[in-house]
């Protein structure tokens, strides 16, 4: 009884699966059997045609002699490939943008309609023109001759006389 207790303690709580020792012998024998299987296999069984190793020398030598000399092309640096890729992307991008533009070309009529519908006052319209576009030389100033009669009739038709009186 004392021996049993001592025996159990030596395992420090470790246990084995059920029937481990009973099945152990068979497992070892199977293992030995499988080792023997590999040892008992007689070579690889690959064969070669008759006289193959006699003929191979002349085959290889004639191949070497008959091979045309190869001109080695200068390897292209990576930069070429990158430039090529960049150019292709740029081309695709340009085509894409042009396609979009051609779908709807802006005509003078469209601009006119836009201004009519957008209710812009003169100040806002002036804002649309940059200073560069407002150079004096761009305007053609024509000297007009007018007679006193014309001026009189213009003032009579258009001017608010009351403003001048005030």
């Amino acid at each position: 009884m004392k021996e049993n207790k001592l025996h159990k303690d030596t395992h420090s709580g470790f246990k084995t699966p059920d029937n481990y020792f009973e099945s152990f012998d068979e497992k070892v024998l199977n293992q030995l059997h499988s080792d023997q299987i590999l040892n008992n296999i007689d070579g690889h069984a690959f064969k070669v045609p008759d006289g193959y190793f006699k003929e191979i020398d002349s085959n290889i030598l004639s191949n070497i002699k008959s091979e045309p000399s190869v001109i080695t092309l200068k390897p292209r640096p990576k930069l070429y490939y990158l430039t090529g890729i960049a150019a292709s992307l740029l081309l695709l991008f340009a085509i894409f943008i042009n396609n979009n533009d051609s779908d709807e070309e802006i005509s003078a009529e469209m601009v006119e309609t836009y201004f009519q519908n957008s209710d812009l006052d003169s100040y806002e319209l002036a804002q649309l023109l940059s200073e560069a576009e407002m150079l004096e030389e761009d305007f053609i100033i024509t000297e007009t001759t007018y007679s006193e009669e014309n001026l009189e009739s213009y003032l009579l038709e258009n001017a608010d006389l009351e403003q001048f009186i005030e």
Binding site: S34, I37, L38, I41, G43, F46, K47, V48, E67
Partner: protein, 180 residues
């Protein structure tokens, strides 16, 4: 080593290149053939790869720096050529490399240059289930009996890692042969 150095010198010199190359063929063609054959499986593919290997050796012997043995340098070329050949075949047939390996093993049954029995065919099937590096290590140790030291130089891997790889490969193959 002196003999090897002398052979390399003659291979580099234009006057003696051809005769030295014939010697090289005599020395290594069979060993390299079997190394390639175990990777590509069919004789026709092995023949193509062996020729390409020697042509590459002939053309690039000037670039051989002597950091490793000539023997391991040639094995390295043969290994790379074999793997490239397999991948090219797989790509041409639009198969993954695993599926292509399965296909070449299935073809072994009809191959006139394979005279294996059922267990030898099963061994080839078991090898095909391994990852590429484990296949190489297993073939080089089991069939070709190459020393770990030489294998380490050919595959540019430590001897310890190769031993572990071989051990794992053997266990997997044994399990395949016993259970599948």
């Amino acid at each position: 080593m002196e003999q090897e150095q002398e052979l390399i010198t003659r291979l580099i010199s234009q006057d003696t290149k051809d005769s030295a190359f014939r010697e090289l063929l005599q020395l290594y063609k069979e060993r390299l053939y079997w190394h390639i054959r175990h990777i590509v499986k069919s004789h026709d593919d092995a023949d193509d790869v062996l020729q390409n290997t020697f042509i590459k050796v002939y053309k690039s012997i000037d670039k051989f720096k002597g950091d490793s043995k000539l023997y391991s340098w040639m094995y390295r070329i043969a290994t790379n050529e074999s793997i490239t050949h397999l991948n090219r075949n797989a790509k041409r047939m639009q198969l993954s490399s695993e599926a292509y390996q399965e296909y070449s093993i299935t073809n072994l049954k009809a191959d006139v240059y394979f005279e294996g029995d059922e267990i030898q065919l099963k061994l080839q099937k078991a090898i095909a289930t391994l990852p590429e590096k484990q296949q190489l290590v297993f073939n080089m140790k089991y069939f070709e009996d190459i020393k770990y030291k030489d294998m380490a130089e050919i595959l540019d891997t430590s001897e310890g890692a190769l031993k572990a790889s071989y051990h794992i490969a053997v266990k997997k193959i044994e399990a395949y042969l016993t259970h599948d």
